[in-house]
């Protein structure tokens, strides 16, 4: 059974100009100790999806669907359970380490706060654990860092502190929302590798959100590709690359730079911009930018369906939402 099972999640924002359909009909699951990548460009609904799970959305957001964590309904946790759910069972790392830490509190205080609040650790115990955590995220000279303020650390170091903070209470699930987007390219890989090894060492499930399909390629078990607040394709990571069904996934792949490409090869950007989510979707959100769109794509929403031999009840079925699939399913579709 999956650790986290999200089914038919929908998030709608109430705005003065009318509702915005940020996330519609999103389902995915993460098993214990597994890594899931959620991939999509800005506005695809990936951040809103995890923020809804973390209870971080503003009051104007309406959340529908279910999210079951280890048998518990995340959206309807009893008050006593809710008090020690976030930051204990599920923790999160944010996009921008430069703004993720409270500028007026020392690193040590921010690290220890969560343990003391949730587990009532003594100052001394919390301090020992804080040093252990900084060591775990490979920050040199951890004990002297505790007395420093965030502005005294570099961006990469701060993101390590943020990760250490998230790990404080041994979460079973860590959500990382574009954890490297705001960092220097040279630091990005270090942080991603760190997350990867922590997941393995601590037997922790990881949801890694990114706009870069290349980032999740070697670091995740499953991938969900989102666009316009919907799931375009979802499958085991190797299936996504070996048998790409959705034209959007294909387009994302051709945007990944590859060192083996001949010099001077141009990367293919995806033309156009993401859809306006203020309009209730009535067609495939990607259709206006899609090279393979047919009439049907502009008039109805393609339902998620499985690639022939991966049944829906399989561990990670290969699902896609497209009338004109590009991979194996294309031939099946023709024959069906």
């Amino acid at each position: 059974m999956a650790l986290l099972d999200v089914t038919n999640l929908a998030v709608t924002f109430k705005t003065p100009k009318g509702p915005v359909y940020a996330v519609s009909d999103v389902s995915f699951a993460v098993g214990k100790g597994e890594a899931l990548g959620i991939v999509g460009e800005s506005g695809s609904g990936k951040s809103v999806t995890v923020k809804s799970l973390m209870g971080l959305l503003p009051r104007t957001a309406k959340v529908e669907g279910t999210a079951v964590y280890d048998g518990e309904d995340v959206f309807n946790l009893p008050k006593s359970r809710r008090k020690h759910f976030y930051g204990v069972d599920v923790a999160m790392v944010f996009q921008n380490p430069m703004t993720s830490l409270n500028p007026v509190k020392r690193i040590g205080e921010q690290l220890m706060e969560g343990m003391r609040f949730h587990r009532g650790l003594s100052r001394a115990d919390a301090k020992a654990r804080a040093i252990e955590l900084l060591d775990l995220v490979r920050i040199p000279d951890p004990s002297s860092r505790l007395r420093q303020y965030p502005h005294e650390l570099s961006g990469g170091m701060r993101q390590r502190v943020v990760i250490a903070m998230a790990l404080a209470n041994d979460p079973a699930l860590l959500i990382a929302d574009e954890p490297t987007t705001a960092l220097d390219v040279t630091v990005q890989r270090d942080i991603l590798d760190l997350l990867d090894s922590l997941r393995a060492d601590l037997d922790m499930a990881l949801i890694l959100i990114t706009h870069d399909l290349g980032v999740v390629r070697d670091r995740t078990d499953n991938i969900v590709v989102m666009y316009g607040g919907r799931v375009m394709e979802s499958a085991a990571t190797e299936d996504v690359f070996a048998d790409t069904e959705h034209p959007y996934t294909e387009a994302l792949q051709s945007a990944i730079p590859d060192m083996s490409m001949p010099r001077g090869t141009r990367l293919d950007p995806i033309p156009g911009s993401p859809p306006d989510l203020a309009i209730a979707p009535r067609s495939c959100p990607f259709a206006p930018r899609c090279n393979y769109a047919s009439d049907e794509c502009h008039t109805s929403i393609p339902a998620l369906r499985a690639v022939g031999d991966t049944a829906v009840d399989a561990a990670s079925p290969h699902l896609f939402a497209c009338f004109n699939p590009r991979g194996v399913a294309a031939n099946e579709g023709a024959s069906a």
Partner: protein
């Protein structure tokens, strides 16, 4: 903060105080003949030979034949030794008046600031965490009402309700014990505090609302901290800059307010004294109060500057 920076700040403060004393002393001596303020209408040479001796005596006693810079220097020197001269009005030592009455006024001002801070902070946090909802909008109306009501009207209202009608607080000033003093100063302090409460609440609420949009607040929430903890431990401190700045500036305004309040509530503080002194052209008393008030204002604002560094470690004080 380095010793050099502190030394430089102290030097600046001394300069401010000296400049204020010059202005005050100068204007007091230019606005009319000081001799007339000391001995009254007989100061004029036309008022008859029989008063010539009185005039000469007063001139000698107050060194009025010396030049202005010399008299200023003497006054400053005396003040440095704690001698503020004698009142023109009744000849009592100004330093005695100050030591009797100043503590009452300072108690009143500190009391008002404490009340203002104690009420405004929880109120601002409460309204910022409910920003733009109906309750927050209602509280905005209330705070604007508090800003609009004049201190004298508020004094009358509070006095009538709490001292006369319901008899909760005494109608006259008592200071037999510190408790009695606090009790009898409560209404005057509240009269002074009400506009301050509203000012601080407005400023802090606005800054809190913007702080609550910050990423580190989302991080604190994702850590599963309670809402109260997020608000008070994470959002409050980085949001206090405007409020603190105005806190320092309001110290000056409070002195003006205490003139009215002390007279209305018959509190024997320096405010009531200085009003009398101004009306009677009692220079030594007025000048002494001006100097003391200036020093208090400068010192409070220096402390405010130091507190910026406490609120945010990134703030570096420069000389």
């Amino acid at each position: 903060m380095s010793a050099r920076v502190i030394a430089s700040r102290l030097a600046q403060m001394v300069l401010v105080v000296v400049a204020v004393t010059m202005l005050a002393f100068g204007s007091m001596n230019f606005l009319g003949d000081p001799l007339c303020n000391i001995i009254g209408p007989i100061c004029s040479e036309d008022s008859g030979e029989e008063f010539a001796e009185v005039r000469a005596e007063a001139r000698a006693q107050y060194h009025l034949d010396d030049s202005l810079p010399v008299r200023y220097g003497r006054w400053l020197g005396d003040m440095a030794t704690g001698d503020f001269g004698r009142s023109f009005e009744n000849g009592t030592k100004v330093s005695t008046t100050l030591s009797n009455k100043l503590p009452i006024t300072i108690t009143l001002m500190v009391y008002a600031q404490i009340l203002a801070v104690l009420v405004s902070i929880p109120w601002a946090v409460w309204s910022a965490s409910r920003a733009y909802r109906a309750v927050d909008k209602a509280s905005t109306v209330v705070s604007f009402g508090m800003l609009g009501i004049p201190v004298f009207a508020l004094s009358v209202l509070l006095f009538w309700l709490f001292a006369v009608k319901w008899d909760i607080f005494p109608t006259r000033y008592e200071d037999a014990t510190f408790g009695a003093q606090l009790k009898s100063l409560f209404l005057p302090a509240l009269s002074l505090a009400v506009p301050l409460i509203a000012t601080y609440q407005r400023l802090l609420r606005t800054d809190l609302i913007s702080t609550l949009q910050e990423d580190f607040i989302a991080v604190a929430r994702a850590k599963g901290l309670s809402n109260r903890r997020v608000l008070f431990r994470h959002a409050l401190r980085p949001s206090m800059f405007s409020m603190l700045t105005v806190f320092g500036i309001q110290t000056g305004a409070l002195i003006g307010g205490s003139l009215i309040v002390e007279r209305y509530f018959s509190i024997p503080g320096i405010g009531a004294e200085v009003v009398e002194a101004i009306i009677r052209d009692d220079f030594p008393t007025v000048l002494a109060v001006v100097v003391v008030v200036t020093v208090i204002f400068v010192v409070v604002n220096f402390i405010v500057d130091l507190l910026y560094g406490f609120l945010d470690p990134r703030v570096q004080l420069d000389g």
